[in-house]
């Protein structure tokens, strides 16, 4: 592989690889390190499917996610702790399950851009406390305790509220994409809040 090809791969796929690694549970610095290792491993390999290297949703992207998943698994195994599970079997199963959701819900044989757009649209409709909590938690990076103090809620209450807001957003996204039949995984989050309400 030439340096030009490697540069093309990095520029095209680094955001996707990073997102994938963060989604799988890697902290931001860990995700960057593992992403670099992923591209270096790709550079060393002679079996990279380069025919669609410039496409974000093709075989090359899938190959890179596979390498990233293995690199992250190795990192978690070497690390003393990880945010997923200390049991190596459970860890691997959890990564596999997350990988399955990433493919079937976000990508759906594409690059996941439509999912991203739908989420932004749903966010645009969100108002009141729901939006305020999201902005404080994700935009201002307040802790749950700080948010609870501001909004006179308990920490667990903030946690539960955030989970219900995310469930509502997912329901909205799937509805916009016309794939509402994929609505599973909401049981543990409780009933989704209606988007646009004051919470």
């Amino acid at each position: 592989m030439t340096h030009d090809t490697l540069e093309l791969l990095i520029r095209t796929h680094q955001a996707m690889v990073y997102r994938y690694l963060r989604y799988m549970g890697a902290a931001p610095d860990v995700a960057e390190d593992v992403a670099q290792e992923t591209f270096l491993a790709t550079y060393k390999s002679s079996s990279v499917p380069l025919e669609d290297a410039a496409a974000e949703g093709g075989r090359c992207a899938a190959w890179l996610r596979g390498v990233a998943r293995n690199q992250l698994l190795m990192y978690f195994r070497k690390a003393r702790s990880n945010p997923v599970s200390s049991d190596p079997v459970v860890l691997e199963q959890a990564l596999d399950e997350a990988d399955e959701v990433f493919h079937s819900e976000l990508l759906r044989n594409s690059d996941g851009f439509d999912y991203h757009e739908a989420l932004q649209a749903c966010l645009g409709k969100m108002q009141g406390t729901q939006r305020q909590v999201l902005d404080m938690f994700y935009g201002e990076e307040f802790s749950r305790a700080q948010i609870g103090q501001t909004l006179h809620m308990s920490e667990d209450g903030v946690k539960s509220f955030l989970r219900r807001v995310r469930a509502a957003l997912r329901k909205c996204v799937l509805g916009r994409l016309g794939i509402a039949d994929k609505l599973d995984g909401l049981d543990s989050a409780g009933p989704a809040l209606p988007i646009g309400g004051g919470g």
């Binding site: 990073y18 270096l40 997350a98 959701v101 966010l123 994700y138 469930a167 997912r170």
Partner: protein, 369 residues
Amino acid sequence: MIRDPHDQLIDQLLREILGGDRPRDMTARVLAQARILDRFRRRNWLLGGLAAAAALALAVGLTMYWPHEYPGPTADQELVADGGVVDRGTRLENNEQDVRDVDLGGYVNIKMAPQSALTIGGAKYEEKVLLDQGQLDVNVARNRGRFDIAVGPATVHVTGTRFGVNVADETTALARVKKLLVSVKEGSVEVQNIPGMTGTQTVTAGQEKTFTITLAQLRAAARANAGLLAAAQDGARLGNRGGLGTLLAPLRSAQPLASQPATPRVLTPPARGGAAPRGSLGRPVQLMTTPGNMSRLGNVLRTGGVFYLENRDGNFFMFEQAAIAPTHPRWLTLSPDQSCRVVWTDGVVTDIVPAPPPAPAATTTTQPK
């Protein structure tokens, strides 16, 4: 804690959209590491190549220098007139029709022309034959060892080549001589110690040179070098296959016969314990024997071309210049003080007839018949 992957997906996308969670551009960093990797790869290739070359050189060296069993002399058994073994010290005589092969040390091939005669001498990697008469076509592999052909005092020395040597008796108006003809097909050979010539004569590919050696010079060389025995001695000293060398004390002797050629003599071995006669040529020598005849080693005396051996059983053996192996049938067993009649013609023992065992009180001198 295991999180719901659906919730986790929305969570991550919200971090991107609302929190700006995106990676720093890693292009420059990864490309820099790729360049470092390239340097390591090149170095590893170089080191791998060097290691492979070193391993190959080691394997070749081990193969070349690993101690192999050194091949002994081999020749057609019919060349050995008395049916003995082919070994150093054995005299080979060819018939009148055939060209026969002799192989020495795995690197010398000799084709003996009809009516040729030679004796095998030399040692490991220093093969040597003593050519009495006839024609030899020799092929010596390069870089395997030395090879010499001795003709009287002259030596044809070679390290790797193809050449021929011919020795023929010739009678001139003044003397009987041996003509030594050396013809080289490949490489070059050196001819050393030619009587009357100084230095070394080099014969190169395509050349032929003839050298003349008189019989007197041959006899002198035989006296000086102990003839074929010296070759066997060399071989024994340097570790011949199956040979054994022993430094031995001199034995009292009869008078040398070579000074009175063509005169039959009666030789009487010295009685044990007697004094060495004046004029004795006795000196410490080494004698090669075969593994099955160890007991025959003993004190050896050379007088001209005749050798006496006193073995550990107290018996005396007498043998000619041309037959030096103790198993040779031309050895005669003489008890102490027993006489024998020796016919010596032109420096060569032509007949040996033992006398009946004598009465006690033997003499230790050689007496003309």
